[in-house]
Structures are given as structure tokens and as C-alpha cells.
């Protein structure tokens, strides 16, 4: 009996020690889309690559524990997974990168003091919702829209047709309109605005409407996901449209090139994104190394995931604690932190999103090229 009590006491002491060691860990819960509409835009593998790299380096900071689950592109499931991560002690969580998932997630995270850090989120609603515990890893949509408008106008385009959809909120509806506002501010003209549905696989009616315009527009702007925009490009080129097609960060996936197929069809395509990829940039080098190490990284969204992990880690080191509120305060410390998508990423100025350049990517003979990489000066809706 005595041996049994002694054994139980030793076991309890061991468990307490383990629990105490775990309490200092930096726990990050990622409810990411491994399946469904948003699967091409998951940041999980990049986050995993960065976390393992930091843990291996063991340079005096806390151990990073990632909890990763599939949200199946379902906002409701994403919120439920957020609750699960919070109950498991996560100081930082994330989910489907849209307000219908992120706002309730931030609300349930607030009593825990935890931060919702959405690496790929760009929706303006998240910056206007008054959520102190929310941080986006990417710049908001109006900046993306303004960067493309500047680049397109710089290429000589003077008229544009906008394709808008209410299906993904401001991302698919307002972003093209903000683009149009900046384009007209610069001296261009929006000649028409056409509707489409998210998930469109046949753009023939919209293309017929564009062809029926008195003058062919120099450009078409759309903020849609893949493969939809790839199909649009194929159909536009098949219908003889040889003008510019401009878009947003959802264009930034390797499957764009695959879906369009013909390199010449990409020659007049441009999109604003979160970092230059496909041109041997530091981001490419990070992704290549991750790939070589066995991570199934895909593109820029993995790099954003890596930023999120690295910033959380550096902030915990600076704060000297993984306590949730102190960690968030440190994330917003002046001077920022090194990142993968930019040399320095700072949240000190804007609190809810980073200050960094917005690269606009184009194509030359099927290869990606950097068109511009300067922050736009005139940005609508943000202030």
C-alpha cells in the first residue's frame, strides 16, 4: 500500500512538472482550411515550418506548440475550433480569414485575453469592428486595391470594367469598387460594373456584356478565388479579349498558371499580394527550404503563416512571458519584428494590421515579375 501511495505521489509530481513546463509554452491554435473553397490559401504548412525551425534553434525563447485542425472552410466550425484551442490554453488563435468567422472568434477569445492573429485576413470590416484583440497579418483590402490601381494606370490603362460579387462580402464587392475609386482619382474611368456569383464556372454572360460595350475597356478588375479567375482568364482570351486583367491576392496561387495553361494568356495579368514570390525572392528561398525539409508549402499564404509564428515568438521573447495580454502588447511594440514577407513587420502604428509594401505582380512569358512595390499614397475607405 505504501509503495502504491509513493508511486502515485511520484506520478502526480511528474505530471505537475510537465504541466508547469507546458504552461510557459507559446500555444498557437490554427483552424485552417485544409479542404473546401479556401484550401489553396491555407497558411498552416508555413507556420509549421517556421515553428519547427524556431524550436530547433532553441535560442532562449519559449517552446512553440502549434495546434492545427481543418476548418473545412466552414466559419461555424472555425469558431468551434477556436473555442477548443482557447480551452487548451492557446494565447494566439486563428480561423477562416473572413469576418463571419473572425469576429465571433475574437469575441470568445476576449475573456481569455487571447489574440486572434489572422495571417491572411484583409477585410476592412475586421479593422472597423473595434476588436482590440484582433491582428491581421496582411494589409487591408483598400491598400491592395489602391496598389493595383496605381500599377495599372502606370501601364497606360485608362478604362476599366469591374466584376463584383456580394458573395464574399467586401472582399469581392468593395475591393473592386475601391480599386475603381483610386483608378478614377488617378484619371482613369470605370466604364461598367458587372455582377457574378462566387464559384462561377462559366463567365460567358459577363464576357458578352463586356464585348457589347461601345469601346473595349483597357482592363478588367476582379477579386475572385481560384479556379474561378483562372476560368475567367481562359474564357476572356478565348473570346479575343487582349486587355489587362487585374486582381487581388486571391490570384496568388500557383494553380493560376496551371489553370490558365497558356503563358501568353498571362502576359497582361497583374495582382497585388503580400510578398513577391516566383522570382527567387527571400520568400521563395524560405518556401524552397521548407519544401526541401518536407513541408507541403504552397506560396505566399504559407509565408504569412510563418510571419505570424515568428512575430508571436519574438514578441513573447521581448515580453519575457507568454501571458496572453502581455504578449499582444509586445506584438505591437515599436520597431516591429523581422518577418518572411518583409524585412521588418510592425504593428505599432496601426495596431490591427502591419505597415509594409504591397507588391504588384505581373507576368512575362509565363514567369512572374515584380511590377511595383511601393505603398500607395491615396487609399480610400481606410481612415
Amino acid at each position: 500500500m505504501g509503495k502504491l501511495v509513493l508511486g502515485a505521489a511520484a506520478l502526480a509530481a511528474g505530471l505537475m512538472q510537465a504541466a508547469s513546463a507546458g504552461a510557459d509554452d507559446l500555444k498557437i491554435g490554427l483552424a485552417v482550411a485544409m479542404t473546401g473553397t479556401y484550401a489553396p490559401y491555407s497558411e498552416a504548412e508555413g507556420a509549421r515550418c517556421m515553428a519547427d525551425r524556431i524550436n530547433k534553434a532553441a535560442d532562449g525563447g519559449p517552446k512553440i506548440e502549434l495546434m492545427i485542425e481543418d476548418n473545412r472552410s466552414d466559419p461555424q466550425l472555425s469558431v468551434s475550433l477556436g473555442q477548443k484551442f482557447l480551452d487548451a490554453g492557446a494565447q494566439v488563435i486563428t480561423g477562416v480569414p473572413f469576418p463571419d468567422a473572425l469576429i465571433p472568434t475574437a469575441q470568445i477569445a476576449e475573456p481569455y485575453g487571447a489574440t486572434v492573429f489572422s495571417a491572411p485576413n484583409t477585410q476592412l470590416e475586421m479593422q472597423q469592428a473595434g476588436l482590440d484583440n484582433f491582428i491581421a497579418g496582411a494589409v487591408p483590402d483598400p491598400i491592395n486595391a489602391a496598389a493595383v490601381a496605381n500599377a495599372l494606370y502606370g501601364k497606360g490603362a485608362l478604362s476599366v470594367a469591374l466584376l463584383v460579387s456580394p458573395d464574399a462580402g467586401s472582399y469581392s464587392e468593395k475591393l473592386p469598387e475601391w480599386f475603381g475609386e483610386v483608378f478614377e482619382h488617378l484619371g482613369g474611368k470605370v466604364v461598367t460594373k458587372l455582377n457574378y456569383s462566387w464559384g462561377t464556372t462559366d463567365w460567358s454572360p459577363q464576357i458578352a456584356s463586356i464585348k457589347a460595350l461601345p469601346e473595349k475597356p483597357d482592363a478588367i478588375h476582379v477579386c475572385g478565388v481560384l479556379p474561378d479567375v483562372g476560368i475567367l482568364l481562359r474564357q476572356l482570351r478565348a473570346n479575343g479579349y487582349d486587355g489587362w486583367v487585374a486582381g487581388c491576392d486571391a490570384f496568388d496561387d500557383k494553380s493560376l498558371e496551371g489553370t490558365v495553361g497558356d503563358a501568353a494568356s498571362l502576359d497582361k495579368v497583374m495582382f497585388a499580394t503580400h510578398g513577391a514570390t516566383g522570382m527567387d525572392s527571400p520568400i521563395d528561398q524560405f518556401l524552397e527550404q521548407c519544401k526541401a525539409d518536407g513541408y507541403k508549402v504552397n506560396g505566399i499564404f504559407d509565408a504569412l503563416g510563418a510571419d505570424m509564428v515568428q512575430i508571436s515568438y519574438e514578441a513573447a521573447k521581448k515580453a519575457g512571458t507568454t501571458e496572453a495580454a502581455a504578449l499582444r502588447e509586445a506584438m505591437r511594440a515599436p520597431g516591429g519584428y523581422p518577418g518572411t514577407t518583409a524585412p521588418v513587420i510592425s504593428f505599432a502604428e496601426k495596431k490591427g494590421y502591419p505597415v509594409k509594401a504591397v507588391p504588384v505582380i505581373g507576368f512575362a512569358e509565363g514567369n512572374r515579375v515584380l511590377i511595383t512595390d511601393t505603398p500607395p499614397t491615396y487609399v480610400p475607405a481606410l481612415d
Binding site: 455582377n195 454572360p205 464585348k211 483562372g230
Partner: protein, 299 residues
């Protein structure tokens, strides 16, 4: 005038695609009373078969087309044998749930075994060209889609009216028990119906691949939901109704895109379903459906 002609052609092409898929649903429903929501995954199997064959070195578009149709027919028969036959005599809701189950399982298999991301398939790109007829420029894909859908419908009608097996299928859709008493094997009739349904899905898959240039795990699911609506509009169980319902849905969708002022674009779906509800209030059994006895539910 060009514009109206182009949009008319678009509506016909949309309708042809919906009709092809709706016919596939209707063939199975008319025999088994099963709304096969896994029909979209038959399209998926067909598309991924072409993707895999192309990845392994297939270059002939003709072989790709034959593969798409054959793989879809085989997949449909396999689904029936593995999933639907065991629940053939279960309540309708069991069949419905089984179909959703098969759909989810197959979509997940595509995701896990291949990728959740779009995969490029360029082997059928040649089908998508511009053809010029005087002042009109039309998409070869739309014309082909329309012609092939019409031929498929005519072929199906001929098969159902002229062949013994076709007559057995039509008879089974009216009174399965009597057909069995006449010595026709139920399994054969049902398997043939699934094979026809699969072949129609395969034809639809050819056009989907040619237009999209890529395959995704859920590429058929949304289309089947539209086909389901088309079947309801036309009258569930009626093959002619499925074809008419598909065409009508294509015209409603394109018509609203063209006619609706852009600032009201967000109402397109609501208006589409508003029109459908109005149609069903006028003819609850669908345009070509048979009136069902509702007993004391009637006013």
C-alpha cells in the same frame, strides 16, 4: 442584336449543361425514387480520371473524352452496387442520406489522395475555340455543348422507346413490381439506369474540364444542386421535364444577369428562386410532372 444573340446562346449553353446533369438525376430517380446527390461526384470521378490519365502521359483528346464517359458510367454502376443497392428497399430518406454520404466520402478521397487545390488539365483545351459566322463570334464549346446535349437527349429517347432494356426502364419507372413479374431482372434495369446516368455525367464532365482547364474535389457538387432545381421545375421523375427544367433554369439565370440593373445584382439568387417558387405555386408537380395525390393536405 449581336449582344442578344450572344446572350441567347449563353442561355442555351447554360441550359444544355443543366439539362445533361438533370437528365442523369432524373433517370435514376424515375426508377429508384432516389435523388442521387452523389451524381456530382460521378462527374468528379470522370474529371479526375482524365486528370490522372493526362498526368500519366495521355495526349489524345478523343481518348480523353471516351475515358471521361466510360469512367463516369463505371463509377455510377459501382456507386449503385456498393452504396445504393443495400438500401434499395429502405425509406427514401435513407437513400438521400446515403447519396450525401457517398458524395462527402468521394470528395474527401479526392482531397486526401490528390489535393484540395485546383489541378490543371489542359488535354481538352482544344474544344474551346472561337468560331466566326459572319458578324457573329461564338464559342465552339457552347455550340458543341448544345449539339451534344441535344444528341444525348435524342439518343436517350430512342433508347428508351426502341430497345427492350429501354422499354423495361420506362415500365419500371411506372410499376417496378409488374416489370419484375414479367421476368425482367431488377438489378440489370437499375444498373443500366445508373450507367446511362453516369454516361450523361461523363459528357457533362468533358465540357466542364474543357471550360475550366482544371479539376477540384467539389467541381460537380454545385452543378448537381442546380440540376436538382431543374428537375423540380420540370417535374421530378419526368425525363422531358428534366431537360425542359434545365433549359428554363439556364434562361432564368442568364436572363437575370442581363436584365437586372447592376446595383441589384445581389438579388440575383433571390429572384431566381422567387421565379421558381412562383412557377411551382402555379404547377406544384413541376412543368411536366405527374400530379401526386396529396389527400387531406389539399385545401
Amino acid at each position: 442584336m449581336d449582344y442578344l444573340f450572344q446572350q441567347l446562346l449563353n442561355a442555351l449553353a447554360f441550359g444544355a449543361e443543366y439539362s445533361l446533369v438533370a437528365l442523369g438525376l432524373a433517370v435514376v430517380f424515375s426508377i429508384m425514387g432516389l435523388v442521387n446527390f452523389a451524381h456530382g461526384e460521378i462527374i468528379g470521378v470522370s474529371a479526375y480520371s482524365v486528370f490522372l490519365a493526362a498526368a500519366l502521359g495521355l495526349t489524345s483528346p478523343l481518348v480523353a473524352v471516351l475515358l471521361a464517359v466510360g469512367a463516369a458510367a463505371l463509377a455510377a454502376v459501382a456507386f449503385e452496387r456498393v452504396a445504393f443497392r443495400p438500401v434499395r428497399y429502405a425509406p427514401t430518406t435513407t437513400g438521400l442520406l446515403t447519396a450525401f454520404g457517398v458524395s462527402i466520402v468521394v470528395q474527401n478521397l479526392f482531397m486526401l489522395l490528390i489535393s484540395p487545390k485546383p489541378q490543371s488539365v489542359s488535354i481538352l483545351n482544344g474544344l474551346n475555340q472561337m468560331w466566326f459566322f459572319g458578324p457573329f463570334a461564338v464559342s465552339s464549346l457552347q455550340v458543341l455543348e448544345l449539339v451534344v446535349a441535344a444528341l444525348a437527349i435524342v439518343g436517350l429517347v430512342l433508347f428508351l422507346n426502341r430497345s427492350t432494356l429501354g422499354l423495361a426502364i420506362r415500365a419500371a419507372s411506372r410499376d417496378f413490381a409488374t416489370v419484375r413479374l414479367m421476368g425482367i431482372r431488377a438489378n440489370r434495369v437499375i444498373a443500366t439506369a445508373f450507367a446511362i446516368s453516369g454516361a450523361l455525367a461523363g459528357i457533362a464532365a468533358v465540357f466542364i474540364i474543357a471550360r475550366r482547364g482544371s479539376v477540384t474535389p467539389d467541381l460537380g457538387f454545385g452543378l448537381v444542386l442546380k440540376a436538382f432545381v431543374a428537375c423540380v421545375i420540370g417535374g421530378f421523375g419526368s425525363l422531358a421535364g428534366a431537360a425542359v427544367g434545365g433549359m428554363l433554369l439556364g434562361f432564368i439565370e442568364v436572363g437575370l444577369l442581363v436584365a437586372l440593373p447592376q446595383q441589384y445584382g445581389g438579388f440575383k439568387e433571390a429572384l431566381t428562386y422567387g421565379i421558381i417558387v412562383a412557377l411551382l405555386l402555379y404547377r406544384p408537380e413541376g412543368l411536366l410532372g405527374r400530379r401526386a395525390e396529396l389527400g387531406d393536405k389539399e385545401a
